[in-house]
């Protein structure tokens, strides 16, 4: 109940004060360069990884990326740069 109310509060704040949503709400920021690169900031760790699929833990839910020939170019505690041929980016709610 409290958690939901806080979520509402934050959304309201970003709307009214024009603050960046990824900072205030701790959301992932995903940058893609065509199909070849995907750059995810603010992730919470690697769940599964294969050359066709990668699953990242987020603060809320998970992010699933599908494609071919995946290579993790760089991985840092909150950032990841993935290379390959990306076909799908899917949010999975718990």
């Amino acid at each position: 109940m409290v958690k939901k109310w806080r979520q509402h509060m934050r959304r309201w704040l970003t709307d009214k004060l024009e603050l960046p949503a990824d900072i205030v709400m701790d959301l992932p920021r995903i940058t893609m360069v065509g199909q070849i690169h995907i750059y995810v900031e603010n992730h919470r760790g690697l769940l599964t990884f294969s050359d066709k699929e990668i699953r990242l833990l987020l603060k809320q839910g998970q992010l699933l990326v599908r494609g071919e020939k995946f290579v993790i170019k760089t991985i840092l505690p909150e950032e990841i740069l993935l290379e390959g041929k990306i076909s799908q980016v899917i949010y999975i709610d718990e």
């Binding site: 690697l46 769940l47 990884f49 294969s50 050359d51 290579v71 993790i72 170019k73 760089t74 991985i75």
Partner: protein
């Protein structure tokens, strides 16, 4: 993202991880500040990735907690490149050869510059230098050091008064100051000639001035011999008195000579040893046997070795052992006496000017004490006793 060049410089390792939970291993790595890149999956339970060489130990610690087995499958970067290079014999030999060449060339004499000398003097200096072995291409530690070269040059070339020798890097700089042959004496001021010491006059050559004494006169020290004031009274003029007044003077000397004495005499035989010396290690490079002499003198010469433009803390040392011999000398009474007289005479001659002559000698006293001969001698000497005394023209 970190620069790939830095990774190349620091060296990186390709790791193959096998087992369940490869993802968890990677997460753990990332949280422990291990930089991971180029992660690839080969099949279900095998992943490969790169880490920095310095993180290998840390990775092992992390991997212990996981279910993965690690294999190191590849290496890249400068540290490995360097290691590979060392195993390549040719490269190592080449590098050593290069260092040796640079070392050799830095210890050579590459230039000789002579400044301030007339052409003929310069030619003589070149010749002397060549004789000493100082020329282009000579090894610096095999020739004399600058001080010795300076001394030798000054000794051997009489037309130079002074020569500055400086070794700057691989070039010798010679700064020459040539002797200016003395010009005719400056005009001398008016003066008298007075007696230098007590004497009986034996001969007189007066060139200028009014002689006040004559032959066989007894003069005392400071007595006026030739006056610089000439002319009749009332019409006197001043001239610089010039001339030589020879007088008989007397000297007394005492010589003490031991009847028996031992000396260390160099026999002329010598042997050399060469060392490379650092702060506390000295490494012989030539001349390994002990000197075969019973008594010897040691002469050490130390020169720093150079590399590029620096003096290394390594020295080349040449040690020369010169054989000495103990020589005993013993005189009989007569011999000692004669020797003492000779010595006394030599000593006196050194003291006297060149135009002086010893006329006679007399032994005043001779005694033998504690194995020594003690002789007192008396000499009669004919010498020029005149010394100038300027006339102070007051008022």
């Amino acid at each position: 993202m970190k620069n790939q060049w830095m990774n190349l410089l620091a060296g990186s390792v390709r790791v193959k991880a096998q087992g369940k939970g490869v993802e968890r291993l990677i997460n753990a790595c990332v949280r422990n500040d291990i930089t991971v890149w180029n992660v690839k999956k080969h099949g279900d339970h095998i992943a490969t990735f790169f880490i920095l060489l310095k993180d290998v130990r840390q990775l092992r610690v992390v991997a212990r907690k996981s279910d993965c087995k690690l294999y190191f499958v590849g290496k890249a970067g400068f540290p490995f490149f360097f290691k590979n290079m060392l195993t390549n014999f040719g490269v190592v030999v080449g590098a050593c050869f290069f260092l040796a060449i640079v070392f050799l060339l830095s210890n050579m004499v590459w230039g000789i510059e002579i400044k301030g000398a007339k052409p003929e003097t310069e030619y003589r200096i070149w010749k002397e230098l060549k004789q000493m072995g100082v020329e282009k291409g000579a090894l610096q530690f095999l020739i004399d050091d600058p001080e010795t070269i300076q001394k030798k040059l000054i000794d051997r070339i009489d037309t130079i008064t002074w020569i500055g020798v400086e070794l700057r890097g691989t070039t010798f700089y010679f700064q020459v100051v040539e002797k200016n042959e003395p010009k005719e004496p400056e005009k001398i001021g008016v003066r008298h000639l007075v007696a230098r010491k007590k004497a009986v006059i034996t001969d007189m050559f007066v060139e200028k001035g009014q002689p006040l004494v004559s032959v066989n006169d007894h003069v005392t020290k400071g007595q006026l011999l030739v006056s610089g004031i000439i002319g009749k009274e009332g019409q006197t003029t001043f001239v610089p008195a010039r001339g030589k007044i020879f007088g008989e003077t007397w000297y007394k000397s005492t010589v003490v000579l031991p009847l028996e004495a031992t000396f260390q005499v160099l026999t002329g035989k010598y042997m050399e040893k060469h060392y490379i010396v650092t702060k506390n290690i000295s490494l012989p490079i030539w001349g390994f046997q002990k000197p075969a002499f019973r008594h010897y003198e040691i002469d050490k010469q130390k020169r720093p070795l150079r590399f590029w433009k620096w003096d290394l803390p390594i020295y080349y040392e040449r040690v020369v052992f010169r054989e000495t011999q103990e020589a005993k000398r013993s005189y009989t009474w007569e011999e000692a006496l004669a020797k003492a007289k000779e010595l006394a005479r030599e000593e006196l001659k050194d003291k006297l000017p060149e135009d002086a002559a010893i006329k006679g000698e007399k032994v005043l006293h001779q005694a033998r004490e504690n194995g020594k001969v003690r002789v007192e001698l008396h000499y009669q000497v004919i010498e020029n006793i005149a010394i100038p005394q300027p006339i102070v023209q007051g008022d």
